[in-house]
């Protein structure tokens, strides 16, 4: 039981890390209807920018600010040179363009900041907290708790921003109907630049956390793959959904990895570990059976 709890908590905490990446997807999808596959690459770019600036001698705080500026500029440039020219195209075309964008980043970022895997030290050690270890014999990492705190803060801020501010409402309006938003005078370009800027910021936060956790390297782009089932479960358009989905995926995937293979082994024989690759997706499918638009997603409104 105690081990079960340990797995559960560790799963929930890594779920938070998935949610951080998923959040970037949600933001852009919510505001522009673009399924931005380049989010993983943006996480990579942001983390690289931080370590790149630090290598040039900038202290951590300055590097983070510089990286934020870079991400914002990058977001604006993306809007200006790619998305603006693809207004009114079907979603799949936009999706494709973001895959092109991902390739572009994956080529560009290492040229500018170097492709060496590097460490990113945020000053928070990823070690078990001794007090908890002694008292309950459970490993809970300080780093994970900090990450969870940051994610909670980020999500709350974003959710409030979307719900109650003028820009937030405009963002949601644009997501619903580009044309109508244009017609009432919402300047799409500004809105999209803002969204990409925010998504860049979220990517930066995710990049910092993941980079500090696993090192800064190309594999950061894979974080996107972990975020996709989170999106399905939480819904593509819900900020709180990203967190909820992250927690569900994180916890269930860890529990499944521990408890499912022995069951399968007794059924088929052989070693069935390593199911984390597909388990979240299959789980997400089952969620879709019950709620086709995710737990918190907006219902698709179909009027013929």
């Amino acid at each position: 039981m105690q081990f079960f709890l340990e797995v559960l908590i560790s799963g929930l905490l890594s779920g938070v890390m998935y949610a951080l990446v998923a959040l970037g997807f949600v933001l852009i999808y919510k505001a522009s209807g673009v399924f931005n596959f380049a989010q993983g690459a943006m996480v990579y770019l942001a983390a690289l920018a931080v370590v790149g600036c630090m290598e040039k001698g900038a202290p951590l705080w300055l590097a983070i600010i510089l990286a934020f500026v870079i991400m914002t500029l990058f977001g604006i440039a993306t809007e200006k040179f790619v998305l603006r020219k693809l207004v009114n195209q079907p979603p799949i075309t936009l999706f494709m363009a973001t895959i092109g964008l991902a390739f572009f980043i994956e080529g560009l970022a290492p040229i500018v900041f170097g492709s060496e895997p590097r460490a990113l030290d945020l000053g928070i050690v990823d070690e078990p907290i001794p007090a908890i270890l002694d008292a309950w014999d459970m490993v809970i990492s300080k780093f994970d708790l900090v990450a969870a705190g940051i994610a909670a803060l980020l999500v709350t801020t974003l959710a409030l921003f979307f719900q109650y501010t003028r820009i937030g409402r405009a963002l949601r309006a644009v997501a619903d109907d580009h044309q109508a938003a244009l017609s009432i005078g919402i300047p799409l370009q500004h809105i999209w630049a803002i969204v990409w800027g925010i998504a860049g910021f979220v990517a930066l936060v995710a990049g910092l956390m993941w980079g500090a956790r696993n090192g800064v390297q190309f594999a950061l782009t894979f974080t996107a793959l972990k975020a996709l089932p989170v999106l399905i479960i939480g819904g593509f358009t819900s900020v709180p959904g990203a967190i909820a989905g992250g927690l569900i995926i994180g916890a269930s995937e860890k529990l499944a990895e521990i408890y499912l293979p022995p069951v399968m082994q007794s059924m088929f024989g052989g070693n069935f570990g390593g199911i984390e690759g597909w388990f979240p997706y299959v789980l997400a499918l089952f969620f879709l059976l019950v709620r086709p638009e995710g737990l918190f997603g907006e219902k698709h409104i179909d009027r013929v």
């Binding site: 195209q89 895959i99 199911i275 597909w278 499918l285």
Partner: protein, 358 residues
């Protein structure tokens, strides 16, 4: 005036229903077939056969499969590579376990096995759509590859999980040279492409397109969504499965499950989008573009770099390749969001009027 339809009257219903109703198209196709079957085998080098033409044809077939699903039936899928993997492993096992089974029968069975998998993983399409469905098909992508890794029976207990394909023997003749393999692949692809062309204009094809354009409306006019969608998944997976079998037997010779990665699925998706969603021709154009572009960049960029005396390390050149690849994809989407097939259509429109534009 070269491409003039005027004056070609259809006097019977059958004539109006031809695959290629315009005479110039028929001639064009015949010439094309003559070139690919007769001329190219005489000229191309081994490199062209085994590194470009064969993979081009195989990926065209896979793209065709995906295009049937996405372009005609409107169901986005990111699992094409997994269905190819099913095809590859199925063909291997049919060859291995059934004595004396002709290779073509194996391929067909492989396609059918993949179709089965397609139906299974197409089930979610009955209640979800759009990007939700796309992400759901990723479940197929990861799950199938995992299964192939985990059940050693499927790879005949090879310690590494890699399978080496059996020799290609057909009516006692062994296909060994790249040229023969090319002709084999070409024949299969040509037949299946024509079949696809025929299928998408049949009532099935029309049902798919109705589902694509608006499934609620389609169901209102009496199209049964479930059979239509599942059939699209099955046919698409069949094409991908055969492509996978060809990929293993005629191209790589040995495959491992990890080779059929998500990356490959994405490439196939690229092909149909760059080529033209909902176009048979587009599948071929897209496959050519996506396969040739990196090769072209790989050859051209170091050359350009050395020509201009740019002090790039090999790593930088490789990175620039990726960068340019990404940039070109975005560029093409901006210039022609409907793909290369649309460009070809516009050219045809112009030819219709040429040399007297209005």
């Amino acid at each position: 005036m070269l491409y003039r339809e005027a004056g070609q009257f259809k006097t019977s219903y059958a004539a109006d229903q031809q695959l290629f109703p315009i005479r110039q198209d028929r001639i064009g196709i015949l010439i094309l077939l003559a070139v690919v079957f007769l001329v190219i085998p005489g000229f191309a080098s081994d490199y062209w056969f085994s590194a470009i033409l064969i993979p081009f044809l195989i990926f065209s077939l896979a793209a065709l499969g995906l295009n049937i699903l996405t372009g005609y039936a409107g169901q986005l899928s990111l699992g094409s590579a997994a269905f190819m993997a099913v095809g590859a492993y199925a063909a291997y096992n049919f060859q291995l376990r059934i004595d004396g089974i002709p290779i073509l029968v194996s391929f067909v069975c492989a396609g059918l096995t993949a179709a089965g998998a397609g139906i299974l993983f197409g089930l979610p399409s009955l209640w979800i759509k759009g990007f939700y469905l796309a992400v759901a098909t990723l479940a197929a992508q990861f799950f199938i590859v995992w299964c192939l890794t985990k059940f050693p029976w499927l790879s005949n207990y090879s310690s590494s999980g890699v399978i080496s394909t059996q020799p290609l023997i057909f009516f006692g003749h062994e296909f060994t040279s790249p040229q023969e393999k090319y002709l084999l692949v070409l024949t299969i692809v040509a037949v299946m492409a024509l079949a696809a062309k025929n299928m998408v204009r049949s009532s099935t094809g029309r049902a798919w397109m109705a589902v694509r354009d608006m499934d609620v409306a389609a169901s209102v006019i009496g199209i049964r969504l479930m059979p239509a969608k599942l059939l699209a998944f099955a046919v698409s997976a069949f094409y991908c499965g055969v492509a996978g079998a060809l990929y293993a037997f005629c191209y790589l010779g040995s495959v491992e499950p990890d080779g059929f990665s998500l990356d490959m699925s994405f490439r196939i998706l690229f092909m149909i989008i760059i080529g033209g969603v909902g176009s048979i021709l587009g599948s071929f154009l897209g496959a050519a573009f996506i396969l040739l572009l990196p090769i072209f960049l790989d050859i051209a960029l170091p050359w350009v770099a050395s020509l201009l005396g740019l002090p790039f390390s090999s790593a930088t050149v490789s990175h620039i390749q990726v960068l340019v690849f990404g940039a070109l994809i975005m560029f093409f989407l901006i210039v022609e969001p409907h793909g290369l097939a649309r460009l070809w259509q516009i050219t045809k429109e112009k030819l219709r009027l040429w040399p007297f534009p209005h």
